[in-house]
């Protein structure tokens, strides 16, 4: 296992695209949350009546412990950025036929797929650490409550990690199936940004069905509900969303197992 990890590190550590995208991710997560934080303060600091109403309605979503959820929610929207790296790491292997060279040099097909699983896992951990730091810094900077309350929603670190790993695994699957970088990136971006949100909303509005929550990305998307202030518009529905999280943990775990089982299976069957 150590040899597999070391080999992947040899591949990644001098891959410029990896560092570029990681750099963009490192800027995006604090960046988007800082912009929203700035807008929040811009809104509540207005001395007129509207400003005071907004302040009473929103509370402070960037104070701990709520910041864990708020930052997780807004950060999770940008999972398609690390997904670019994941897709490139697998499609490059096909483009330059290095996957077959890895096998020729002595890896089994299972070793190759284990290496890619480790890539997705490690990237998920890096992104989660980034989220944790952003949530912690923003949260501490905006919190005035007693220290004991700060960590009550820290379980969102785990939920964020699970969601990221699940969604990056799906990005990997698209790359594995399509094998061409730009086509895979386009398909994933289109599905992530357009197709699944539109399809699930259409089904909900037109067919009055909640089946859209079982769509591949939505399964893990439901792990991190919208910030509490948005939920105030429909308290009952928001509570239902919160209650569904524990079920979606199970669904997400099942999806992850199925995704990787399919990846291993297809890689084992395929000619390289």
């Amino acid at each position: 296992m150590f040899t597999i990890a070391r080999t992947e590190w040899l591949k990644i550590k001098k891959y410029p695209a990896f560092w570029w995208v990681m750099g963009i991710t490192a800027l995006t997560y604090p960046g988007i949350n800082s912009i929203l934080l700035y807008q929040y303060y811009d809104l509540i600091e207005k001395q007129n009546a509207a400003g005071q109403v907004v302040k009473a309605l929103l509370g402070n979503p960037f104070a701990l412990p709520e910041a864990w959820k708020t930052v997780a929610y807004f950060s999770s929207i940008f999972v398609f950025i690390p997904a670019i790296v994941i897709i490139m790491l697998i499609t490059n292997e096909y483009t330059y036929k290095t996957n077959r060279q890895n096998i020729i040099d002595g890896w089994s097909r299972k070793d190759f797929m284990t290496a890619k699983l480790m890539d997705v896992l490690i990237l998920s951990i890096i992104v989660t650490i980034l989220y944790t730091l952003v949530a912690l810094v923003i949260g501490i900077a905006n919190t005035t409550k007693a220290p004991s309350a700060k960590w009550t929603m820290a379980y969102y670190i785990g939920l964020f990690a699970l969601q990221t790993f699940s969604q990056l695994s799906l990005a990997f699957l698209v790359g594995l199936l399509v094998r061409k970088s730009f086509i895979a990136l386009a398909i994933f971006a289109f599905y992530f940004i357009m197709l699944e949100p539109i399809a699930s909303n259409l089904i909900r509005v037109k067919l009055h069905s909640d089946i859209g929550r079982f769509f591949p990305l939505n399964i893990s998307h439901k792990l991190i509900p919208r910030p509490a202030f948005i939920g105030r518009f429909d308290e009952k529905a928001y509570q239902a969303t919160l209650d569904a999280v524990k079920y979606h943990i199970g669904y997400t775990l099942i999806l992850i197992v199925l995704t990787w089982a399919f990846c291993f299976w297809i890689n084992n069957r395929r000619d390289l």
């Binding site: 040899t3 070391r6 080999t7 040899l10 591949k11 001098k14 891959y15 410029p16 490059n92 330059y96 036929k97 290095t98 077959r100 060279q101 890895n102 096998i103 020729i104 040099d105 002595g106 890896w107 089994s108 097909r109 070793d111 069957r269 000619d271 390289l272």
Partner: protein
């Protein structure tokens, strides 16, 4: 002992059958050429023994054992095209080869790069290499850690004449040190100069296999000429029943079954018929001619 044993290997791509029930052995210590025209199944065969492709039926044994990743780690291989990470240098690419296969070391990487004359460009990105340099790096990767068995698919592809000669000399030297080399090629000259054994494929079928001298040299050719070519031609037509005679302006070729030509007997036969030969030469049948004959091209 056989290094590699193929047993009834078949492979299809849809309706196209690339390999048809292929069986043969590759003995230890030989340079084994897999020879055939384009599309004959050479690369498909090498891909199967390296587990890049799955055979539809049949199996193969490395040193009498079914193929495993652990066995592949001990085999230096170059398959079809040089496959490396385009953003990495030669050294860093070979570090990956070393990490996966366990063959070689940091010093060994420098040694193989020197051996293939790529040491000066060892820190340049693979994407900046010419085709010949890429091929040299692929050969360096195969040589890393001095594996006892090498599988090389068109090893001189993309190399200049000097490079081709160097790689041939390298293969001959490695074979003398006891390495077994399995090489696919469509270059007859290459096979003739380097290989000790050969298998000839045509449209996925094994036409013949064995020692190069047995497979590719099965006729004796004796070239003769005299001042009076007409008289010579008339005389040799009655020399033996089992020979074929061909004639051009300056010489006559007597094609006889392998091992049956006797130059002194021919000379004395002609002399007894009043003809003095001014040219008498024993020739092996050219590989090219034999290859065309075997593959019906």
């Amino acid at each position: 002992m056989s290094v590699l044993t193929l047993q009834n290997i078949s492979k299809s791509y849809g309706k196209i059958q690339a390999l048809k029930n292929l069986s043969f052995d590759i003995p230890q210590g030989c340079v084994f050429g897999v020879l055939g025209p384009n599309g004959s199944g050479k690369t498909t065969l090498l891909s199967i023994i390296l587990d890049v492709l799955k055979a539809d039926t049949g199996n193969f044994l490395w040193f009498g054992q079914p193929g495993t990743p652990e066995q592949r780690k001990k085999i230096g291989s170059l398959l079809e095209t040089p496959n490396f990470y385009h953003y990495l240098s030669a050294v860093n690419n070979l570090k990956i080869t070393n990490s996966i296969s366990g063959r070689g070391s940091a010093n060994a990487i420098d040694d193989v790069l020197e051996k293939v004359k790529l040491y000066e460009r060892r820190n340049s990105r693979f994407s900046t290499y010419s085709l010949g340099m890429k091929q040299r790096l692929a050969i360096a990767a195969a040589l890393l850690g001095d594996p006892r068995v090498l599988v090389l698919d068109e090893p001189t592809n993309g190399l200049d004449p000097v490079g081709i000669a160097e790689i041939r000399e390298l293969m001959i030297a490695l074979n003398k040190q006891g390495h077994t080399i399995i090489m696919a090629s469509h270059l007859l000259d290459e096979v003739e100069k380097v290989c000790t054994h050969v298998a000839i494929l045509k449209k996925g079928e094994l036409i013949t296999t064995g020692h190069v001298n047995d497979v590719l040299v099965d006729d004796d050719i004796v070239e003769i000429s005299a001042d009076n070519m007409d008289a010579l031609a008339a005389a040799v037509y009655n020399y033996r029943q089992d020979i074929k005679v061909t004639r051009d302006e300056n010489k006559i070729q007597l094609i006889m079954p392998k091992g049956t030509s006797k130059l002194d007997e021919i000379n004395s036969y002609c002399f007894s018929n009043g003809i003095v030969l001014n040219h008498l030469l024993f020739k092996k049948k050219r590989l090219e001619a034999k290859f065309f004959e075997l593959t019906n091209n």
